[in-house]
């Protein structure tokens, strides 16, 4: 069976990503978009910190030196030290690791499961669609972070519990998005043509409809990472994350809270790192949306 290649060009697809020249122009538009460039650069910085923390960090993340406790920022400790004399800068650098895990893992879990489910129910419809839509409505009845909080309560505290909890509570958003896109695309001329020439369901879904689904899902994934990093840090702040002494930004802010009147730097710098990471991801998401999915306004997932 040969693919009716030019069909997608005649359809009024918002993003005809199929032809090679448009694909190049999308990369070019992304590379020329200020939000994408700035966000991407900042995100790479955080990623580098996470990957090479062992080489970059001047001290060990849990190395204590009680004779140097609560030192203000200075030449030996750029971001000061905490109540055990641990170097805040080193802990901030190592803290990029759990934060990225809490941002990326939920995004992967919910996008894969949610998109697949959403596409299947959107395509086949009928009672599965009705049932799943009701289930999504029920899941969305819970304020997002509270659902994650409940799942963490079930799984017990820890990094991977948080990641799984945020991943599960994000699924409904992807189902809703993918389903909506598929239902719209099903009526599009290029899909009707593919069906008319006898393409199988799988082929219609994964060679044709998917190009309508991917752009908004990519945008959602990026924004989801930002939301998941924030939610993960908030859950850690509540004491439901990695147990001490491992460095994690939310936990460090909780630690710094007790010393806020004395040593502001303990809570200040982890928060800046968190804000920069989330800012980078939000910028990337904004840029991706401008280029890939200009019509949607998008809502943050938290």
């Amino acid at each position: 069976m040969t693919a009716p290649a030019p069909v997608s060009a005649t359809a009024s697809a918002p993003v005809p990503v199929r032809a090679d020249d448009t694909r190049i122009s999308i990369w070019r538009r992304l590379a020329g978009h200020r939000s994408v460039v700035v966000g991407g650069a900042l995100f790479l910085l955080v990623l580098t910190a996470a990957l090479f923390a062992g080489w970059i960090a001047p001290y060990g993340p849990v190395a204590t030196d009680t004779s140097r406790a609560l030192q203000p920022p200075g030449w030996t400790h750029w971001m000061g030290t905490d109540q055990f004399g641990r170097d805040v800068l080193s802990r901030v650098i190592y803290g990029a690791r759990p934060s990225l895990v809490m941002g990326m893992a939920p995004m992967l879990i919910s996008s894969v499961i949610g998109t697949a489910l959403g596409m299947v129910i959107g395509y086949y419809g009928r009672w599965t669609d009705l049932l799943m839509t009701r289930l999504v409505d029920i899941a969305l009845a819970f304020p997002p972070i509270l659902l994650a909080l409940t799942v963490v309560a079930v799984l017990g505290p820890g990094l991977w519990s948080i990641a799984l909890a945020l991943g599960l509570s994000g699924i409904p958003f992807y189902i809703r998005m993918a389903r909506g896109q598929v239902i719209q695309a099903k009526e599009a001329p290029f899909v009707l043509t593919a069906v008319a020439v006898g393409a199988s369901d799988m082929r219609v879904m994964f060679r044709h409809i998917i190009y309508r689904v991917i752009p908004p899902i990519l945008v959602m994934m990026t924004i989801h990472v930002a939301g998941a990093i924030l939610a993960g840090a908030a859950l850690s702040f509540l004491g439901l994350g990695i147990p001490p002494p491992s460095p994690e930004w939310g936990t460090m802010i909780q630690d710094g809270r007790k010393f806020i009147a004395l040593s502001w730097w303990m809570a200040f710098f982890p928060g800046v790192a968190l804000a920069v990471t989330v800012f980078a991801t939000n910028l990337l998401g904004d840029g991706l949306r401008d280029v890939l999915d200009p019509r949607s306004k998008g809502e943050p997932i938290r």
């Binding site: 289930l135 304020p143 972070i145 409940t150 930002a226 809270r257 806020i260 809502e299």
Partner: protein, 310 residues
């Protein structure tokens, strides 16, 4: 309108029942039960006593029966009892909920009072430095963790300037910092939405007509543009209330403010599941009802919407 209202209200019933079932089933996945939780708390029980207690609590009945019992209890306003104290969940939640709702309302007020004007300003000065600055601030506002912002507000306004109390016990002055910490991020969301929505509405035919009739810029923005631009904002507000309720839990812990936050987090740490289950369910129910109200307002603003097409 009345038919829409009735239909919309009936639609919330399966959602509420489903939410109760979902949270009930989630709680069943927690390793251990009420009896082992009591024992983890230090109580020494013989195997016979454990059996007796499970019998008394009805924990050895089939799951479906327990679920039915739980749902029947809910209908009668019975959310169960705390496993750690002898109080009913409903009394525990009832004692805290007003504090949380006040905080959420104050956070929403902050979001509206800052977000809407900022969005209007950015839309009217579209593609100028003012717009770029306003939207840059908004993305930054979206990215700053609320609990950290709250802590920095404490550092500046409580520790250094002494204008507001650091820990919030009650009263209006104690509400200011938590409400700001909570509301600024949502103000950023609103500002972005109001801007894009207002720009879209200012490009519509009715705006051109108004302009052709000689209406001033100010009149066009406030009389023609904004009311139409606010329609999607109403939907967003419904979602934001949910975000605010979730974030309020965290902010309450930060400011050591009484409310459901303390109740929820402590119930997790002490594995007091009935309290957790009840608090989350009540928050979800409030969220559902607020969204019901939002949908009705939406219908009022835009009579074209049909039932179920949200």
């Amino acid at each position: 309108m009345l038919r829409y209202l009735a239909g919309r209200m009936i639609l919330t019933i399966p959602v509420l029942v489903g939410a109760a079932i979902l949270i009930f089933l989630l709680m069943q996945l927690v390793p251990g039960d009420a009896v082992s939780a009591v024992m983890a708390g230090g109580a020494k029980l013989s195997p016979e006593q454990q059996l007796e207690m499970r019998e008394a609590l009805g924990l050895n009945r089939p799951l479906v029966v327990q679920l039915g019992d739980y749902l029947w209890g809910l209908v009668q306003g019975d959310l169960g009892r705390s496993t750690r104290s002898d109080r009913t969940v409903i009394s525990l939640v009832g004692a805290q909920i007003s504090s949380t709702l006040i905080l959420v309302a104050a956070g929403m007020a902050v979001a509206l009072l800052i977000g809407v004007p900022l969005g209007v300003l950015a839309a009217r000065r579209r593609n100028t430095l003012v717009d770029t600055a306003a939207m840059g601030t908004a993305v930054l506002g979206l990215s700053i963790p609320q609990f950290w912002l709250g802590l920095m507000l404490i550092l500046l306004f409580a520790v250094n300037l002494g204008w507001f109390p650091a820990l919030s016990s009650g009263g209006f002055r104690a509400l200011v910092l938590p409400a700001l910490a909570l509301g600024l991020a949502e103000a950023a969301v609103l500002a972005r939405l109001v801007r894009s929505s207002l720009i879209e509405s200012l490009e519509q035919d009715y705006t051109t007509t108004a302009r052709a009739k000689g209406a001033s810029d100010r009149r066009i923005t406030w009389r023609h543009g904004l009311p139409n631009a606010l329609v999607p904002v109403v939907t967003m507000i419904g979602l934001q209330v949910g975000n605010l309720m979730g974030a309020a839990v965290v902010i309450e812990m930060l400011f050591a403010r009484p409310g459901l936050g303390q109740l929820v987090v402590n119930s997790i740490l002490r594995r007091d599941l009935p309290v957790l289950q009840g608090s989350i369910l009540i928050l979800a129910a409030i969220f559902v009802f607020i969204n019901l109200a939002v949908d009705v307002i939406y219908k009022f603003l835009d009579p074209r919407v049909e039932l179920g097409a949200a």
